[in-house]
């Protein structure tokens, strides 16, 4: 069975599976893309953001 047939049978054959996989993929991509950009942003701006200097000013965290 070729790869395209496998993909077709797994995702496209039944509409319920197809729609569910679209929604799941969108959700996963949203989280992954967001955290990827945030990681880049935090690396690029290391030491400049509030969360990098916050520990100096927080009195006591219970």
């Amino acid at each position: 069975m070729s790869l395209s047939t496998t993909i077709y049978n797994t995702f496209f054959k039944r509409n319920s599976i197809y729609v569910a996989s679209v929604f799941t993929a969108a959700f996963a991509f949203g989280i992954g893309f967001d955290s990827g950009v945030t990681t880049f942003w935090d690396t690029w701006n290391k030491g400049k953001q509030w969360k990098d200097i916050r520990h100096k000013y927080v009195q006591d965290e219970e």
Partner: protein, 335 residues
């Protein structure tokens, strides 16, 4: 316009010119004249078609317009046209230098330690005259101060509130939701306290001035003695970056004026940089989130753009590449 001339017109003009020139030199070197005229019959065709072409006209026009535009961009005036100005350049103020702010780049956030120091400078120096109406104490939370610090700072200020059960207004300590206290109750009081000059509100000052952060930094650090011949009225101060040169605000930042918590040496330029960073944040509090969202948007939209190009080519490929074959109907008339 050239292309509308009859094609022979230019040829006649050029050949007539060549004839007179040829007769002028023929007395001295007749052989070379014949050589020149015989060989130019082929080159005149090329020259004529070159002069008649629309491309030549278009490129000459473009070259002329481009040269004039370049000159005007470089020198600010059109060439060969005199100008008379009623004002002097100093009336518009010196252009500020472009400084390498830590938040300049596409990917750069504000330096929040600098915002915190800048707030200290604002509170201890600028706030004596300048209000900051659009910033509330809560805006500092998570940007330059913790919630506890902001709450303590707010409580040091009394705000009018009420009415209470007896219908009286009363004073209460500030809350996080209160806005920064103004140094004067109204503009008239501010003018009266500053020899007629109104200290502008600083909330949006970075957006409100040409040159933005660079201008304000230059202004704060640019106080000098007036040059020879410039008269400054009593109570005014000379600053070349201020349009007109004379402003009511005196130089306020001097080395060691404030003492920073984090041990940063409080030089004049350091304080100016910090307070301008703070004011830039006050003008653009959405700055960091905006740039981060911008990164995401550019990535997503450029991906979608490439995809749409691919989809278009994919769909149009067969249509653009098809060949239509025409089979004429059999000729039935001639037999």
């Amino acid at each position: 316009m050239l292309s509308r001339l009859p094609s022979g017109a230019l040829k006649q003009a050029s050949s007539a010119a060549r004839l007179t020139r040829a007769s002028a030199v023929s007395s001295s070197r007749s052989a070379s004249v014949r050589f020149a005229s015989s060989s130019s019959s082929t080159s005149s065709n090329a020259f004529e078609s070159f002069m008649n072409s629309r491309l030549t006209l278009a490129s000459a026009t473009l070259f002329t317009a481009g040269t004039v535009a370049w000159y005007a961009h470089l020198y600010g005036t059109l060439p060969f046209l005199g100008e008379a100005h009623a004002s002097h350049h100093s009336d518009e103020g010196l252009h500020p230098v472009a400084y390498p702010w830590s938040h300049n780049g596409f990917f750069d956030s504000f330096d929040h330690a600098s915002i915190r120091r800048g707030y200290q400078v604002y509170r201890e120096v600028c706030a004596a005259c300048h209000s900051l109406d659009r910033i509330a104490w809560r805006n500092l939370v998570g940007v330059s101060h913790t919630a506890d610090e902001a709450r303590v700072m707010a409580e040091e200020v009394e705000y009018p509130d009420g009415p209470n059960d007896d219908g009286e207004m009363f004073q209460r300590p500030g809350k996080l939701a209160d806005y920064m206290p103004a140094p004067y109750p109204n503009d008239e009081a501010a003018r009266a306290g500053n020899a007629g000059a109104l200290p502008p509100d600083l909330s949006l000052i970075v957006k409100a001035r040409h040159g933005g952060a660079d201008y304000i930094f230059s202004l704060l650090t640019g106080y000098i003695d007036p040059p020879a011949g410039v008269e400054i009225r009593e109570g005014m101060n000379y600053n070349p970056f201020f349009p007109g040169g004379a402003l009511s605000m005196a130089r306020v930042l001097f080395d060691g004026l404030v003492e920073y918590d984090d041990g940063t040496p409080a030089t004049t330029s350091q304080m100016a940089k910090d307070v301008v960073t703070f004011l830039n944040w006050a003008a653009e509090p959405e700055h960091d989130e905006r740039k981060k969202t911008g990164i995401k948007a550019v990535i997503l939209f450029s991906t979608l753009f490439v995809l749409s190009i691919y989809a278009k080519r994919f769909k149009w490929g067969p249509i653009k590449n098809r060949k239509i074959q025409y089979n004429p109907p059999a000729d039935k008339s001639g037999h």
